[in-house]
């Protein structure tokens, strides 16, 4: 029982990332009809927003310490971050420590701009082209983006720790009546799950309770009629692309302390997120979220030693296996609507 609960918890944070990426993918597909294979790259850029802010906050003044030597035997250069010089030791260190949460504020405008530029500069030219063309161009764009990131940041993972207050783990098992050390869970993963839940709720609320969201939903249902009413639906859909990019970016920012960001992390999530979208049902926001959490949890279960012993290799194929079963039973996915991606 404790092992099952443990894997459900593990699946929640992985599922949170899948759900957030798949949510953005579905938003873009639902509004613009574009299959965006560059969405994983947006997740990766978000993570590198955290890395960038961490580097900005640790920009340092260099002084020479004559009493110490570097690896070549020369007087050692000592770097002191400007924030420490400006705000003092404790405040400066605290600002650096909180680089990842602060990066949320940094990433929102950056990702909105990246999203809008991507849509206006490239993707809008492919609206009327077949899905295969859209996939090719967005996949190519993803490769270009990750190579740019590699050129600036290198190929190795870059440690981007959570604030000191959220490092480490707590004994979740004791809280629910199990023996000590039965279910240990890291604080930051709990924060990630809560953050994902808030973002998902905010996106749904935005679409449901704002006029802008209502128009977007109407446009998703019948773009032509909304256009005939004199509403510039294209501009709103461009804004939605920006919002989808920001959602993926924020998912990336908060994921940075879980796994040190590297330039190909977007590709690692992209394929699985597409499977999530298809299992959830193309164009269904709720389906994307549901399938994200479902597949995240199933992936965790499949990694249990007992399960691998029973069916070797199941951890590598579980998501695709479930996708096949779901699509055989429900060809439109769990919550897919009739007419979406159907001729």
């Amino acid at each position: 029982m404790d092992a099952i609960l443990l894997q459900i918890l593990n699946g929640l944070d992985k599922g949170s990332a899948y759900a957030l990426i798949a949510l953005g993918l579905t938003l873009i597909f639902g509004t613009l009809g574009v299959v965006n294979f560059a969405h994983g790259a947006l997740f990766m850029i978000g993570a590198f927003c955290a890395v960038t802010l961490q580097r900005i906050l640790t920009l340092s003044q260099t002084t020479i310490d004559e009493t110490r030597t570097d690896f070549l035997g020369n007087p050692m250069q000592v770097d002191t971050p400007y924030v420490v010089l400006w705000f003092g030791e404790s405040t400066g260190a605290a600002i650096v420590d909180w680089a990842v949460p602060l990066a949320i504020l940094f990433a929102i405008p950056v990702m909105l701009i990246v999203g809008v530029v991507m849509e206006r500069g490239l993707i809008q030219h492919f609206y009327k082209r077949p899905h295969a063309d859209q996939i090719l161009v967005t996949f190519g764009l993803a490769i270009v983006l990750q190579e740019i990131i590699k050129a600036f940041y290198g190929a190795n993972p870059i440690p981007t720790p959570a604030p000191q207050a959220f490092r480490g783990s707590f004994d979740f098992g004791v809280l629910v009546g199990f023996d000590p050390n039965t279910i240990i869970y890291p604080y930051w993963r709990l924060v990630y799950f809560a953050f994902a839940a808030i973002i998902i709720a905010a996106v749904f609320a935005f679409l449901r309770y704002t006029t802008f969201g209502m128009v977007v939903r109407a446009g998703m249902a019948d773009r032509e009629t909304v256009g005939l009413l004199g509403i510039n639906i294209d501009r709103r859909f461009t804004a939605m692309f920006g919002i989808a990019a920001a959602v993926a970016g924020l998912a990336g920012v908060m994921y940075a302390p879980i796994n040190a960001p590297n330039y190909h992390m977007g590709m690692d999530f992209l394929v699985l997120s597409f499977v999530v979208v298809v299992v959830g049902g193309m164009g269904s926001l709720a389906g994307a979220v549901l399938a994200g959490f479902l597949l995240g949890i199933l992936e965790s279960f499949a990694s249990m030693t007992a399960v691998i012993d029973l069916i070797p290799g199941i951890n590598q194929i579980i998501i695709y296996l479930v996708a096949i079963i779901v699509l055989l039973a429900r060809p439109r996915g769990l919550m897919g609507r009739r007419g979406v991606m159907e001729e």
Binding site: D70, L72, P159, G168, I184, N259, H264, M304
Partner: protein, 457 residues
């Protein structure tokens, strides 16, 4: 209207000729075939070309970049440029800065992408199109085994870069291939006594192992050495090479009855699995009434940089470290010369991947010089059972029986309070060569044979 004139004899002759042509590897039919020289790519002008095959893209690109820096430095030194680096400390004095056998050294590079097929394709291109007479580099055992096989077929020498699997000089060893880097068995042999002194003889180990040749042999070696100490192996879980989040593998560890976790992972896998293990509180946890411990059998400075503070206090093993001579004395002479040379040119200390690639290039050049020929079989003979010193590892033997170098192994630990970004690991000890030496027919290395040297003729 024409009439076809097939005959049974004609058909058989044509078929046999076509079959033989198709069966012959294309590498033997290209321009690389040295007319009248008796071996592949015999240098005819006043230059000799070496091929450096490193990961320039993909997850090990940073390691590949460091290897390439070291190769460039070695070529500079061979051609008499720069400060000479380890040429000044190398026990053999055959290299005088005039290239190799009076020929200026040129080089071409290839991108392995850390994929066996891509690595073979780039090595093949360097041999066939660029006339490379020796191939070196690489940052993965899968790649090393694949390229070593290709070099054997092509008739050129392969001086491997960073490859740690037992198989490279075990079941997959080849007469044309030579490894300076240490291997998984030697990691285990070096770490055993250190693990005993750090954690005692009553421990229960849990292994997470990358699911490919390097992971398997590393796990096998560590399990053997720890069980000899009296430890019990609780479990060994194979993890996919493509895995990025190890939480579902890490989470059950604490509840498994184990009190030591071995992360038989390398590169990004190791950074992520270690980060996950620390997040799940394993470093602070207590199990079986003892402090829970994590062990990373193969260390790399670049990995340590990626893991950040998580690496503090965690033991592992290395082929070499840039602090060796300063901390353990003149036995490791050459270390400072190379670090000075590399650090002055690039602004940071060299990694162990850079070191092994630099040393391999000089060793090849010296072997050619001593053999008086570029013929790979003459070079192989010069390298076999060659004893040398002054390359930073102490006295070293290139054993003829399996083409594996035998030298001290460095046992390290992540530094608790690093003073700067390069000060990531501290040296616990350098395990003497005798302790990490094994018989060529040791079971962990069984199943293969060097075969005959192939000069390509």
């Amino acid at each position: 209207m024409t009439k076809a004139t097939f005959t049974r004899r004609g058909l058989l002759r044509t078929g046999a000729a076509t079959g033989a042509g198709l069966a012959m590897p294309t590498i033997f039919t290209g321009a690389s075939w040295a007319q009248g020289q008796g071996f592949t790519n015999a240098p005819t002008g006043d230059t000799v070309t070496l091929g450096f095959n490193v990961p320039q893209t993909g997850p090990y690109a940073d390691e590949g970049a460091d290897e390439l820096r070291a190769f460039e430095l070695a070529v500079e030194h061979l051609n008499g440029e720069g400060d000479g680096g380890m040429l000044q400390t190398f026990s053999e004095k055959n290299l005088d800065g005039t290239g190799i056998m009076g020929k200026r050294v040129a080089f071409v590079t290839g991108d392995t992408q850390t994929k066996s097929d891509a690595a073979r394709a780039s090595a093949r291109s360097m041999i066939e199109k660029d006339g490379a007479i020796m191939i070196s580099g690489g940052s993965s055992s899968g790649v090393a085994v694949a390229v070593q096989g290709l070099c054997q077929e092509a008739g050129v020498i392969f001086m491997s870069g960073l490859t740690h699997s037992n198989d490279t000089t075990g079941k997959d060893k080849k007469a044309n291939g030579f490894r300076h880097f240490f291997n998984a068995y030697q990691s285990g042999a070096a770490m055993g006594p250190v693990l005993e002194s750090l954690y005692g003889t009553d421990r229960r180990a849990y292994h997470l192992t990358a699911d490919y040749t390097w992971g398997w042999t590393t796990q096998e070696s560590m399990q053997a050495v720890t069980e000899d100490l009296g430890w019990e192996t609780v479990n060994n879980v194979l993890t996919p090479l493509a895995a990025t989040d190890f939480s579902s593998y890490i989470a059950p560890v604490l509840n498994s009855g184990a009190d030591v976790l071995f992360l038989n992972h390398y590169g990004g896998n190791m950074v992520n699995s270690l980060t996950n293990a620390v997040q799940f509180g394993l470093k602070e946890a207590q199990a079986n009434g003892k402090q829970f411990e994590i062990v990373v059998p193969l260390y790399s400075e670049l990995m340590a940089r990626g893991a950040g503070r998580n690496i503090a206090g965690i033991p592992g093993s290395q082929n070499w470290d840039w602090k060796l001579e300063n901390e353990l004395g003149s036995r490791y002479v050459g270390t400072n010369a190379f670090t000075q040379s590399f650090g002055t040119k690039y602004g940071f200390p060299p990694s162990q991947a850079a070191h092994t690639c630099y040393v391999q290039t000089l060793l090849y050049a010296d072997a050619v010089q001593r053999a008086g020929s570029f013929n790979p079989c003459a070079v192989a003979e010069a390298l076999e059972d060659f004893e040398f010193d002054g390359m930073g590892n102490g006295p070293t033997l290139y054993r003829g029986a399996d083409h594996q170098c035998f030298k001290d192994v460095v046992v390290t630990r992540g530094k608790e309070n690093p003073e700067n970004e390069f000060d990531l690991v501290e040296i616990i000890e350098a395990t003497p060569t005798e302790q990490v030496t094994y018989e060529p027919d040791h079971p962990m290395f069984a199943g293969g044979a060097l075969g005959e040297c192939n000069p390509g003729a």
